[in-house]
Amino acid sequence: MSSLRHIIFREWNTRVRRKAFIYGTLAIPLLLMAVMGVTAWLEQSQTQSSKVLVVDVAGMVSRWDNQLEAWIPICPECFPERTSVSYRFALESMSDEAFLASDIDIMVVFDDAILQHHKAQYFFDKVPPIELESIVENDLSSAIERFKVQEMMALDYEAYKRLKTDVSLTGRDIITRDGHALGRSIVGFFFSLFLFMQILIYGMHVMRGVIEEKANRIVEVVISIVQPSQLMAGKVIGIGLVGLTQFALLTILTIVLVQGGAALMESMGWLTPSADASISLDFKSWMAGQSAWSFLLDVNWGLMLFCTALFYAGGFALYAASFAAIGAAVDQESDAQYFLLPVMIPLLASYILAILAIENPEGTLAVVGSFVPFTAPVMMLIRIPLGVPWWEVALSLGGVFFTAWLMLRIAGRVYRVGILMHGKRPNWRELYRWMTYHS
């Protein structure tokens, strides 16, 4: 037991003190923030520059304004000013040359036929974003609708608007009393993705570690002191703990960054509502007021972190055992590709299934996937933020740990023989023989 402790410590210690680990761990939240910031900035800068020319040949939605000496919308509220879209109006379309020379992004052309077939054509030199198309469709639909109501039906448009009814559905989970199922499953997916990456990255560490020990022949000295099963277990646990350490550090770092950011926002008065400067909000109250993010306050983060750690432990042991066996079976990393595929398939499948499960986290796919031991670590984490009975989590965890134990035993048999074998890469039949070999 004492030897196992030393092996675990060596595996953990030699990795966590590496500069790559320290800088990598520090860089992850900063990189994530940078990626999110750059994405938001790119999105914003992209939508700001969309200029739309509405060519209203029949003069149904625009009129000439003498003061401005320009065509303006008859119904300004139908074409509201947005940061992402700005409209101009004309009665005649531009020539291709003039369009290309102008700063217009898209030119929408229609005549009174639109009243019949509800279609308008638009021209562009660069493919516009999909959301721009839907904004213009909505705005133009409102304007045409107004034209129909007022000019063709001779009705009062304001009265029509009051009569018009759009029903929208809002969901509410009967247990969590929350309506942000999608948001919650995205939170779950974030944890799943993290777990998937940790298993993959540190699983590969296990494989490389075994190959290194085998290649530089130190393994013979070690297994003359401890049993191969102890060495393998020590390696799996030690490297698994490196992943857990990184998880813990990232959690602490995220808490510090969020709390620091919240304190900064509070002290700088950035959370004050523009409508009433006298009200000063704290971060929690401000978040509660953000309809898109308020559900984050209701997520049981402690439970998520605890379950992620548990599923990581089981899932990592399950996959790392196979990675260790592969490492023992080959002399160099390039030979490992042949054996990696069958191990990677269930892991990659769990990731793909997790993406599919985001939109239906309580569907059959997600539920079944969260009980199959090879996909459960990644899949169950998507369901947990939505509220899963404890016994389901326990059953899933039990399955993962039992399968991990089984895999460790099977892999241990391959490992025990493989680490002393050099030369030709074994085939599957030989691996099976190693599993049944009695030393």
Partner: protein, 316 residues
């Protein structure tokens, strides 16, 4: 009662698929001796050593360690330096040696004290805090040697321990092995192809060939037996004349050296076992000018080659 044998190997058999690596091997290693395990490549030495270190187990037969059946708990009393050895690259030298000491069950302070002593003894003390990757091959070999002996095992198994060393460092390690053997009564099992080391260090040897013990016993006795009536004779004249002179009284095995200026030669002869060497010398002196005559002293290398070649001929 304590056994006087450190190792008593009886009828050990080991097969790998269709290849029998060890065939009914019997071997006894006396306590406190330096025992040479010899054999050509592929003879089964490494397989046998791996059994002694608990890495693998025999299919048949039994191994006794100081009188009791070899078990996992005995492994702590064995030190092993494998032929193909390495060190962890991402660690410091001292840290790595301490890691192995802790794996062996030594306490931190005790381990560090022992290691410092050994580092000083083998002149690697300046490397304690250096990265393993910075070590030369010889330095790495010394560290590996220290790792195998620091816990003062009862049995030390050394597989090609001197390969990679320059003559000075090889001698330093040889002396360290002898010192451990003498002062700590440590039994040493030395597997090597370096026959000079065998002659210098080993009291007894066993020669393995194709998984079988083909020769074993005391080195000096073995060398005496291996003479087989062979003598080395120096004479002046021609080899042809000498061959004619000895006729059927002796068998000319080898012309070992010739001096064409002084017309002197040294030859290896085999005399029939019942020959009186003094009488034979007197008789041959009447025909050829004899300059010297001495019993042939076979080296372990000679014995090794002759035994293996004879065995191969028999098998063929």
């Amino acid at each position: 009662m304590q056994s006087s044998f450190a190792l008593n190997i009886q009828g050990v058999v080991k097969s790998f698929r269709d290849h029998q690596a060890l065939k009914d091997v019997d071997m006894k290693v006396r306590e406190g001796t330096v025992f040479g395990l010899l054999g050509p490549n592929g003879a089964g030495k490494t397989t046998l050593i791996r059994m002694l270190t608990g890495i693998t187990a025999p299919d048949k037969g039994q191994i006794e360690f100081y009188g009791s059946r070899l078990k996992r708990e005995h492994i702590a009393q064995i030190g092993y330096l494998p032929e193909e050895r390495g060190l962890y690259k991402g660690m410091r030298v001292g840290e790595q040696a301490l890691y192995f000491a802790r794996l062996r069950g030594l306490g931190k302070a005790d381990a560090e004290a022992r290691l410092r002593m050994w580092f000083e003894k083998l002149e690697v003390e300046g490397w304690w805090n250096r990265e393993v990757a910075d070590l030369s091959k010889g330095m790495a070999q010394k560290v590996q040697f220290i790792i195998s002996v620091m816990h003062e095992p009862r049995l030390l198994i050394l597989d090609e321990p001197f390969s990679g060393f320059d003559p000075i460092n090889a001698q330093r390690v040889r002396e360290a092995v002898l010192e451990l053997n003498r002062e700590k009564n440590m039994t040493v099992l030395l597997s090597t192809h370096d026959m000079g080391s065998v002659e210098e260090l080993c009291g007894e040897v066993a020669l393995l060939n194709r998984g079988e013990v083909v020769l074993s016993g005391d080195v000096q006795e073995m060398r005496n037996q291996a003479r087989d009536g062979r003598i080395v004779v120096g004479f002046r004249g021609t080899v042809m004349a000498f061959t004619v002179a000895i006729g059927a009284s002796a068998e000319l095995l080898e012309v070992r050296s010739s001096d064409s200026v002084g017309h002197t030669h040294e030859v290896l002869l085999r005399l029939p076992t019942d020959t009186d060497v003094a009488k034979w010398l007197h008789w041959i002196s009447g025909h050829v000018e004899i300059l010297s005559c001495s019993p042939w002293q076979p080296t372990m290398r000679d014995i090794f080659i002759e035994t293996v070649e004879n065995r191969e001929k028999e098998t063929a």
